[in-house]
């Protein structure tokens, strides 16, 4: 097990603290009826901050009435949790048996050499974190490496450099457009047919899709990338992971939610008209990446 010391950088925790702890309480509130939900709480907290700052662990301990040592014990027991901030890009190399016999250790060493860090560490410029996992379950295609959530199979040592370069460029951005799954679309409101494209604040270098958003009585604006397949968004209010927000047209203020529900998480899906015919449906749950493009 990894045993990190609770080295939280004061600067990191300090700036965000006020907002942060409110979010932690919100997450705790959601899980208050969930027996034995500490791991789920910590998972959600880590999903928000990228790591588990000391202040958060203290808050969790206080709010749940569990001793801090218990919370700290859980946070250090499981490999998934990290007390140190991770880099911008996460490189996760599989070291399962099947990957091992196909040369995974050499791939990891190559990553270590290229990044000049050891496994489990983060580069000084906070760009890359290199981690190893026991098994990603894609054994038949080993050695497997996951970079920023993308799976790469049968990785050779000679491909490591290229993968790191691509990660810096972002499998998003420029490279995103070469990815076959990703292409730009233009959408309009299904109620008033007013275009929802907003060139004022581009995302992925293209006009964004602008929507109004409502969440427990609060309203805000949400901009989505108009690249179908890109997950880039910007919002003026924070929607907690897993929360379902209401989507409205910023022009006619009509709601965009229609059935059927998201096949993955059952939240309502918002429908948008695609220019040239067709409907784009996006899931209204934060974190659910489900979207359906129905071209007719």
């Amino acid at each position: 097990m990894t045993r990190d010391t609770a080295a939280t950088q004061p600067a990191e925790a300090g700036g965000l603290e006020g907002v942060d702890l409110e979010c932690v309480r919100e997450i705790l509130h959601q899980h208050q009826h969930d027996r034995g939900g500490l791991i789920a709480v910590l998972e959600e907290v880590q999903a928000r901050y990228g790591h588990l700052p000391e202040a958060v662990l203290r808050t969790v301990a206080e709010e749940t009435g569990r001793p801090l040592v218990d919370v700290y014990g859980v946070a250090t027991f499981y490999r998934f949790f990290t007390l140190k901030p991770r880099g911008k890009h996460l490189v996760c190399a599989c070291l399962g048996t099947a990957c091992h016999v196909r040369g995974a250790p050499r791939i990891v060493e190559e990553f270590e050499r290229q990044l000049r860090i050891q496994r489990g560490e983060t580069t000084p410029d906070k760009q890359f974190t290199l981690e190893t996992v026991n098994c990603l379950g894609a054994c038949a295609l080993g050695p497997v490496v996951v970079i920023d959530g993308r799976y790469f199979s049968k990785v050779r040592r000679s491909r490591v450099q290229q993968l790191l370069d691509d990660a810096v460029k972002g499998f998003g951005g420029g490279d995103l457009r070469e990815d076959g799954r990703v292409f730009p679309i233009e959408v309009s409101c299904p109620r008033c047919n007013h275009s929802l494209m907003d060139a004022a604040a581009p995302i992925d270098g293209l006009p964004a899709i602008r929507l109004s958003l409502s969440l427990v009585g609060r309203h805000g604006r949400l901009r989505l990338s108009s690249l179908y397949g890109s997950d880039h968004v910007s919002a003026d209010q924070d929607v907690p992971e897993g929360q379902v927000a209401g989507f409205f047209c910023p022009h006619c203020h009509g709601p965009l939610d229609t059935s059927p529900d998201c096949p993955d998480c059952q939240a309502p899906m918002a429908s948008l008209l695609v220019r040239g015919g067709g409907v784009l449906r996006i899931c209204s749950r934060r974190g659910c990446k489900n979207r359906v493009l129905d071209l007719t």
Binding site: G36, A40, T97, C135
Partner: protein, 665 residues
Amino acid sequence: MARMVDERCCDRCWHGPSRPCPDRIACLVDGPVCHASDACRQAAAERAARLRRQAVARPAILVGTGTCGLAAGAGRVLAALRRHLAGRNAEADVVEVGCIGLCTAEPIVDIQLPGRTRLSCGPVAEDKAAALADAVLAGRAPPENILGQHRPAGAQQVWAGVPWLDEHPFFAPQTRRVLANCGVIDPSSMDEYLVRGGYRAFAGALRSRTPAEVCEMVEESGLRGRGGGGFPTGLKWKGALGAPAEQKYLVCNADEGDPGAFMDRALIEGDPHRVLEGMAVAAYAIGATKAYVYIRAEYPLAVRRLAGAVHQAEAAGLLGTNVLDSGFNLQVAIKKGAGAFVCGEETALIASVEGRRGMPRPRPPFPAVRGLFERPTVINSVETLANVPEIIARGPEWFAAVGTAASKGTKVFALSGNVARTGLVEVAMGTTIRRIVFDVGGGIAGGKGCKAVHIGGPSGGCIPAEHIDVRVDYESLKTVGAAMGSGGLVVMDEDTCMVDVARFFMDFIQRESCGKCIPCREGTRRMLEILQRITRGRRGESGLEALQRFQGVMYLARLAEVIKDTSLCGLGQAAPNPVLSTLRHFRPEYEAHIYERRCPAGVCRELLSYRIDADKCNGCTVCASKCPAGAIMGARESPHYVVPDKCVGCGACKEACRFEAVVVE
């Protein structure tokens, strides 16, 4: 498309979420039970035929998008197909299915035209996908990469000259029961599972069998725990059923206890409702009203598919309160693990579900008596539960017809390593390892010889090539010093060093040891150190270090026995198995490392020495430029040489040389 459960056949249909009915499943699939209407029956039959893909109205293109498919590029193929079809205004449905198991042929694309059998092709490259779709949609079988066609269902026309998929060498030796739907149905659609007989066993059990009868059936079938233990499932259930308690729990263990196995992931990704149905039956049999699935967080897709399936089943009234008007209540919750191998052990898993450090505790009391939240708890693996629905639906005799005297049914293996066809394999118990490796797997990749097969992960053992005719069942495997384990089957060729494999497993176990008991925490670390010393180079070794090395070698086997006898949980008790089994079958290899200071397989880097064959080297300087240690000398266009003292043995020169001039000794 509206879901089947939301539809009403006609005005006389009185179904709704608030009106549970014991005949709901039959009514959905076969037509109404409570009112006689030929039109409604006809409509239901047509819908079922469509959902079974016996009679599709529009061409369907099905892409296998399990995690392994996605890693091989199925996502890009899917997008390429969608774009292509959108551009051509072609009438075709694009459907995502699970993984059929033949991972080497991923991405796999199936195409079915109306009135014809389903064609399977793979691997399909992103740039070839559109051409393939065009060819098949135009009615021509593609010339290459064709895997086969499915057997015709109903009045489907057969593709001439295309082999049957079930006669493909990968599939022919298999007995696919648990995996029957994987890669065939759309895992996000409960309807497709329903029309293939899904949830009938559960509905039948609720209506006409008592929990004791269900336990009895499972016991009669001879089903044993597929997670590795091999404990009779029916007995376990009976124990929990007899335990007096107001609240009992069922836990589905989807924490793959084996780095190198992915059965649980593929099964949940490909057919989540089968697992859910198994859980529902098990919960009914033991009287549990709350069930948990403990699943690895490393499997995001499986978690999503399973969560979707739970929602669908709840919406359909198959989970929740008063399920199918039987008075039975069941809630299913998903608990994500956070990356601790030991949590595959029952008592550690319970601690983890309770939100504590996943550390095991001594047994007894067994979880069936006192488990989760101090209540009786049954923990079954994904594969065990996935076997349950068909045992109930087809009877214990049907299940027991396959297998050996003491091990009934089938076993799913994750075949990986140095084998030509890797993937997910389901064979009848009693099949030989040779048949799995050479017939299903197509032998060793690259024409090399088979050295060993490692079965059962870190708790299992190595089966050397000469024992490869051993049959897979719980008892036979023990005779060769291996164990069934959860189903990882890693094939190793001649280039694999068995000492290195043992070291790899010890490294793994010692990192994953929870630290609660001393034999496992300290013992495994000592064993790792001993193995590390054996595989380390001896330049500059001090006298003390040499003594420590000798001492380690002398004590290795004894230490292994002590750890085995005194560890608290299964993880520790099985921890020395990889060392003991390699020591038993590959002793000469250990001796070569210890006495001759060489690694016969050329893996243990510090024991290797590199030399450049002067006759083959033409002085291209590529190796010298690649050498990270600057250990290669020589003038351009004249033979180079390696300076042994500088060489770190990384092998970069061997990889770089195009003239095979670098010799490893």
